[in-house]
């Protein structure tokens, strides 16, 4: 969980105002407090306006920073808040248990579901344990196994996407990172249950789409979903690491871009100031939107669900030509 507030650079004016408020609130005793009340209220109004101004027009690069914010709710936070009786499940039954992907069964508003998500961890120890959310082949194979299980028992699947990308390293290549991702995407298409993917933070490339060949793809307002990180793109195309802002813009990686392209089905609005400031509210909203889509999908037969997914991806990127 978020222990201390971390500010992004473009949030500096907000930070300054909030510090000021904090100062006023703490440097006076109860008697004097009411003298400052007006001042504080004024500052708080200002802060809110500033948040509004900043967060209604975040640049793509700012969105990247927000999407990666350390205090942004992670998969485990969503599971904790939205799922009752969560039974975490481990392992691919082949090689290992990769905690970069967490998953298990639980009740979501009374409906038993399988929930699978990338988990980045929240402090150094847990980040290491979760492999910084970058899954190895065994992570994707665990996801695939859990999808198969859900399919057999008719459990809808909710996936939470939040990864910088698949783990790039010797072990990953050795054990078939490419095969694992491809098979996990394929598994999505064979399912006869509702499958909803939500990009909650960073949707990084192949590592993200592995668990997103779903009936519905939702994105949080300030999350991103991209074929390559802006850093990678800048270094390859601009041959200049500093071109990240240009790259972020060029890549069209925001939820708003993806919605325009018809790649995603809905944008989940974040409270003004971002999910990292309003964690509980964000999670609750997200739950409501997932539930709405789940209710729609539950009206379909297993065959219709598979067909729905097939049609979605067959028509995707088939834009009308002038």
């Amino acid at each position: 969980m978020a222990d201390k507030t971390i500010y992004l650079d473009f949030e500096e004016p907000i930070y300054k105002l909030e510090s000021k408020i904090q100062e006023l609130k703490s440097c006076c005793d109860d008697k004097l407090a009411k003298d400052f009340n007006k001042e504080i209220a004024n500052l708080e109004r200002k802060t809110k306006r500033l948040l509004e101004e900043t967060y209604t027009k975040l640049t793509p690069w700012q969105k990247v920073c927000v999407a990666r914010h350390a205090n942004r709710p992670h998969s485990i936070d969503y599971i904790h808040a939205l799922i009752d009786n969560f039974m975490p499940m481990a392992g691919d039954k082949l090689f290992g248990d990769d905690e970069a992907i967490v998953g298990g069964m639980g009740f979501f508003k009374g409906q038993s579901v399988m929930i699978i998500g990338h988990e980045k961890g929240h402090d150094l120890e847990s980040r290491i344990r979760h492999g910084f959310g970058m899954a190895k082949p065994e992570g994707y194979r665990k996801a695939k196994r859990l999808m198969e299980l859900a399919n057999r028992f008719g459990l809808p699947i909710i996936s939470l996407v939040d990864t910088a990308g698949a783990f790039p390293g010797i072990e990953g290549e050795e054990r078939g990172q490419a095969e694992a991702i491809a098979s996990c995407i394929m598994e999505g298409f064979t399912l006869n249950v509702p499958y909803i993917a939500v990009v909650i933070g960073e949707g990084g490339s192949g590592g993200a789409i592995a668990i997103a060949s779903a009936n519905r793809i939702l994105m949080l307002e300030h999350s991103i979903y991209s074929v390559i990180s802006p850093e990678g793109c800048a270094s390859i195309l601009w041959r200049d690491g500093a071109a990240v802002k240009k790259a972020a813009t060029a890549l069209h990686l925001t939820a708003q871009d993806l919605y325009k392209f018809g790649v995603i089905d809905e944008i989940i609005t974040e409270p003004l100031g971002g999910a990292h400031r309003f964690r509980d509210e964000t999670i609750e909203r997200t739950g409501e939107v997932i539930w709405k889509h789940l209710a729609e999908l539950k009206k379909m037969t297993p065959e219709e669900l598979a067909k729905d997914r097939e049609n979605k991806f067959l028509t995707m990127t088939r834009f009308e030509l002038k």
Partner: protein
Amino acid sequence: MNWLLDYVRPKLSVAKTEKDVPDNLWDKCPQCDAMVYGQELAKNLYVCPHCGYHLYLRPRKRLNMLFDNSEYTYLETPQVKEDPLNFRDTKDYRTKLKSAREKTKFDEAFVAAYGKMGGHGVVIGVMNFNFIGGSMGIAVGEGIVQAAQFAVKHHMPLILVTASGGARMQEGILSLMQMARTTLAIKLLKDQRLPYIAVLTNPTTGGVSASFAMLGDVTVAEPDALIAFAGARVIKETIKADLPAGFQKAEYLKKHGMVDMIVNRKELREKLICLLNLLGNTFVKGE
């Protein structure tokens, strides 16, 4: 498709519960060497109150612990050909069987019962490690097959609690065939989309590990349980080196992706009910 909705109470004899004989005065924990009073140990489900070590829990106690109100009905023990190989090593196999029966008061190393668990109709099978090391011969294999068939017939999930040294050598190839037959038993459940939960307890090895034990829809293990295909002794002799710490223990298997969750015995019933609730509350087509 939903086994909860289709549950029909099987028409069989009513549940009979049996009281266990009072436990002997003191038991020694094999892990921490503490002396524990028998009744305290029993109350604690044979988990050492000092170090948490999970001692072996006999089948009747296991069934009492798992079923609602300790109420259940045994499935009939299958009648199978005894000692089909006429096997004798330094002792007659028949003699071994006889003394195992006297010692355990069970006919064989596997017993199954049905009843309710968290309100769900369920078949639970338990292996008896005290019966010739829980080894799997024809009777065990047939017991598992019939438990699965009963579960399919009455549309109930199956839970198997394993504890076995492996195959029943004295039944030769016929014991090996039980690996295929018990695997087939699980397939019968799979075909009907009935849940099968494997509960691996100490020890689960050899042919039992390499058949139904590893095929659970969900695989639960008790802490520190030895779960292995090849025996550590054999491996040590082969590689002529020491084995890694915790080798073939439940925690090791979880790390290596083979076990879903390690559950303390005190939470086992609750977790299994939770799993049944989850697997039963399914999305019904076009609802």
